[in-house]
Symmetry: none
Subunit: 365 residues, 2 copies
DNA sequence: CCCTCTTATGAATCTTAAA
DNA sequence: TTTTAAGATTCATAAGAGG
């Protein structure tokens, strides 16, 4: 295990925010002194005109100058430079996390690999409450991607397997994390009541990253500090942070925020257990999974009606088409109907409610 | 809309598997003739030595010769070549899906963008039953990533929004798909009872891809056909497939598989249509047909505004006149307004949206 | 204080046929 | 090809207002 001299470590501006260009600042810090880097670089969204919700309200888009790049080539150049500066700072056993979307993450991932970083996992942050696709032209963009990589293939990176397992109610932490976006009181506001930063990340995300891949006392550097989520969670968890940020306004918000943060009592790092509701199972999944086939006939529990399954998970009966619930309700002239218990299928000569198939899927989740 | 001549289309080997090098075979096919490409390219896994479970049984890893690449450079070269050949085959409004893991997907994504493909979504296949990480050194690798991209930025790609929404029981389909891995009876075995292909994809995944982004009769090409999941689902769903595969053994398994597959009946392949596909009805027709009378008053859905119908199918309100949409937008100070759902008329003491009258006309067409 | 209803909002590459 | 106008389109949360 290599360790740096006290002199070099003393040069580290621990638990401070430095104002300036990330790449220049990183190049001015002593090499091989940082345990973990968490980076939330500009995504290069390339947005065009305005977007309105169906209720005609305007979406407050990320149109800040810092997210504008002239071309992929310019963006790649920027990415290569900051990743190289970051790698120089890492201890031999250090690691990096980078978060992004499909606009930029493929370029970031390829650059990481090209520079000798060793990808350990890609992690999907599945947002429980993403913004919908208002025009119905694409899938709801419901996730962002994080890449976790060590400095090189031989790094003995930090991974707190048992801690993450505990966070996940006793089973191995997976590469997909379901967490809500940052909203409500957690979302920092400026004096006008507007959001202080357009892309503030939730503390729950950083909590999982830092608990899982750092130890107390480690040095965590964030080159795109923004309003300081990385610093706030690091301080709570007893890690040291270094924040780099170009925008003085963001820094002011972050300093104010960090001043209010207290380190958790080390004994009381209690695990917030997520209550798991019964997962919703769309009827269409039964069709996709081949448990029911398009064209197959379902019969109602009372035997009075029948309907046929379509490839998109809707039913078609005499004069009616729609979801299992809609068609059931229409045929019974009822205001509503629980299609799961109303409709039955035949297997091995027996008539069975389709709810049985839903239970089968739930048991697999 | 560009369409190819019968001569060119006739050259397409529909619903066949061609044996040989994917890139050479693609280059031999007529350009601009394919609606959708689904590709599951080699992953470049770079596994170091054998992997053993805690009980010392050996994991049957993906270590076949076709998955070994000397370096990222060689892999990138290969990727660029097959993506270019694929792009040449696509119709102007065609699209591509590529699936991969963190070992290769970042390089594939960057190459797609560099070649002018336009990324529409990245999709996470969240496996409900992944293989755990036996050594407890990383997170359980519980997902794979798919990229959906159109041929270029201006392609009018196929997206069956309503069908996917129906598959998801009425709410927008998201970019994270929870589906089980391919196992059990679906997993093809060879004569020794071993799995016939190391990375066979579940049919449920292809079902969602093909229902969502193709129409019946479309041509779907898979350049890494393997044991033919793409072909099997395409055949079931009434799409045409072209399979390219180098390994004669896989082809034999796939041919056998496809021989047993039957197409679902056409009616159940019909999918919930989007309103955009419905014929346009000029508002003036309602007046011409006497469903509304000139001089009659319409009120807005929120009850705040009213306007009177004129003989030419325009509305007149305080200070504004124009189409149902224009007047609605002006009164609400909104950038746009769907007049069909905004305006209501009175019949038999009830207030009804004028869209009801449009539906009446459409049902007569 | 509790419950209900309304309003606001989030890293977004978000229309298309007809003239 | 470019321009114009029709008209299609949202989910989960949380805060705040009102009763």
């Amino acid at each position: 295990m290599m360790t740096k001299t006290k002199t070099e470590a003393a040069k580290l501006p621990l638990n401070q925010i430095l104002c300036g260009d990330s790449i220049e600042l990183m190049n001015s810090l002593p090499e091989g002194t940082v345990d973990l880097i968490f980076a939330d670089p500009p995504y290069n969204l390339q947005l065009r005109g305005d977007l309105h919700r169906p209720d005609n309200s305007r979406v407050d888009a990320v149109d800040d100058a810092w997210d504008q790049f002239a071309s992929f080539k310019v963006y790649d150049q920027f990415t290569q430079e900051w990743l190289a500066a970051a790698r120089r700072l890492l201890k031999p056993n250090g690691a990096i996390w980078v978060i992004g979307s499909y606009h930029n993450i493929f370029r970031v991932g390829a650059a990481l690999q090209n520079q000798g970083y060793w990808i350990l996992n890609d992690v999907v942050w599945r947002k429980s409450n993403p913004m919908p696709n208002f025009r119905g032209k694409r899938l709801t963009n419901a996730h962002e991607t994080l890449i976790w990589a060590s400095k090189d293939e031989n790094s003995k990176y930090t991974f707190n397997y048992e801690a993450l397992k505990a966070l996940n109610e006793g089973t191995q932490m997976r590469s997909d994390w379901v967490l809500p976006i940052c909203s409500g009181h957690e979302r920092l506001k400026n004096s006008e009541g507007e959001k202080a930063h357009p892309t503030q990340k939730p503390e729950s995300l950083l909590h999982r990253v830092l608990v899982g891949t750092t130890n107390p006392g480690d040095v965590v550097l964030d080159p795109f500090f923004g309003t300081g989520t990385t610093g706030a969670v690091a301080k709570k968890l007893g890690r040291n942070f270094i924040g780099l940020e170009r925008d003085a306004g963001y820094i002011e918000v972050a300093r104010n925020r960090l001043g209010k943060v207290r380190k958790f009592d080390s004994e009381s790092l209690e695990v917030t257990k997520s209550k798991r509701a019964e997962p919703r199972v769309p009827f269409g999944q039964l069709v996709e999974r081949g448990m029911l086939s398009p064209g197959e006939t379902l019969t109602s529990l009372n035997g009075r009606h029948s309907a046929r399954v379509r490839a998109d998970g809707t039913l078609i009966a005499k004069d009616v088409r729609g979801s299992i619930h809609q068609v059931g309700a229409a045929l019974e002239s009822a205001p509503s109907c629980n299609g799961w218990t109303y409709w039955c299928f035949r297997r091995d000569g027996k008539t069975v409610p389709i709810d049985l198939l839903r239970q089968q899927i739930r048991s697999e989740l």
